[in-house]
Amino acid sequence: MGQKISNTSSKRTQNSSFLSFLKRFSPQKPSLDKIVLPRKGVLAKLITPPANKSSDFTRIISDCISFASTRTQEYLVFKDPEGKFQPSPQTLTQVFLMTYMTQSVNQDLTEAFNCTAMTPEQRILLGADWVWAILEKPTKNPKIQIAVQVLHLPDREEAEERAAARKPVSESIQMAQMESRNQNAYERMVDFCTSIGKDCYALFLFFGKRDDKENIYGVLSNNFEAAVGKYDRIDRALIENFLKGLKYFHTPLGMMQAIFTKKTDEALTLMIKFS
């Protein structure tokens, strides 16, 4: 393409070559191979109207996240009348992810904002359950990432651990645990995000917290490493402390807006209520 344009400009004056350049890319003569036709969902909204571009985009993302949170909450508050059965932590995480993924595919979101579920090994190595990424337009490289780790209520987690203790652990999981033995999962995720930079956030997603077991909360920050300096270790108590005594929480929409409007290299920490 570049080749062709420079050939043209060598034959004509600069001015007309500029005009021909304009013509080549003029939207007045739409041709199928150059102009992406509006599609359903987010792409259509991205193309028309351009003024609301990013606000619409953030709204669609946050709608998908809210939708998944609401669905997950239904299962979170579920109680077996006989008190015998309860969904495992893993099931709740899966419900969230499945609902979110289905929704984001329906909304045609995945080209611009994708969600990568971690493999079991990655979950241990990086401490994340999944990673959201805002993708740069032509390259599809991540521009901003949110690594998410789900935290479950302690009693639910203990029940899971008891069940897991009876099952054999695969060799590669043992190796992953061995590789990461010096840090807990919170620290691993913070390390992972810090190694990428300020455009990678860690989001600890609480499926219920101690004083409100029926709602979903989150602590999001690109600056957890600051806590590493102050405290010996990052643990659940430290992260849950961010949520203590707060009256005002961000909404998922507020979270996405804050991420989008933040300046590069700025620190950002938010507490969010998802359900």
């Binding site: 090994e121 061995m178 033995r181």
Partner: protein, 225 residues
């Protein structure tokens, strides 16, 4: 901890296990590196699970798989690390170079830029890994002959200049995938027996080094290959 402990114990008695439940004789840590989208994940997926998918899911950070191979009656466990090629993960991926015994450095024969980056990747190996690490250069996607922009000869020449072995491969059509890993294992085994010959500490039967990430077991007995 347990796995490494067992391995070290096995080596202390020169390859003869103390009986019981250990399930391998050696463990090699291998890394696959190269630009994003050259096919590293696909290559490992083909080797470990004999599968291929054409959808592209760019790797986040790092991942690994385990595969056991047999060589001269020895069970060799390969811990194969699949690194993310994207620049933003460079800090985390290079942290895993330490202690790697072998690298597969991959480019895409249909992508000039990925070939141009080979030199830089090779420098990364020199900077972050240990001197005796073995490297195989792999020109992947050789099934896409029509879209080829890097000739076999320029691949081979570059490998020679860098002192690496060379294969053209296809994760899609399963060409030279197994061969690439087998060659890398052979090279590591050769290196191990070489240092066994030259290191007096080993021949006098005083293997004291504890096996850790930073001290690969090269000065330990070789794998008889």
């Amino acid at each position: 901890m347990e796995l490494y402990g067992k391995m070290a114990a096995t080596q202390d008695v020169k390859g003869k296990g103390e009986g019981g439940d250990q399930n391998f004789d050696y463990m090699f840590k291998l890394l696959i590196i190269g630009n994003s989208s050259v096919g590293k994940t696909s290559f490992l997926f083909r080797y470990a699970d004999d599968a291929f998918t054409s959808a592209f899911v760019s790797t986040v950070g790092i991942d690994f798989k385990v595969k056991t191979v047999y060589k001269n009656d020895k069970r060799i466990k390969l811990q194969i690390w699949d690194t993310a090629g994207q620049e933003r993960y460079r800090t985390i991926t290079t942290a895993y170079y330490r202690g790697a015994m072998g690298f597969i450095l991959m480019y895409d024969i249909t992508n000039e830029e990925s070939f141009g980056a080979v030199q830089d990747w090779s420098t990364q190996i020199k900077t972050y890994s240990w001197d005796n690490a073995q490297v195989v250069l792999a020109g992947n996607k050789c099934d896409m002959e029509e879209e080829r922009v890097v000739s076999v000869d320029s691949g081979r020449l570059l490998a020679e200049q860098l002192g690496f072995e060379f294969f053209e491969t296809s994760a899609k059509d399963n060409i030279n995938v197994k061969q690439t890993f087998e060659r890398l294992v052979d090279l590591i085994c050769d290196k191990m027996s070489e240092s066994l010959d030259t290191d007096p500490a080993v021949t006098t039967g005083a293997p004291t080094t504890k096996l850790t990430d930073s001290a690969p077991p090269l000065q330990q007995p070789g794998c008889n290959c």
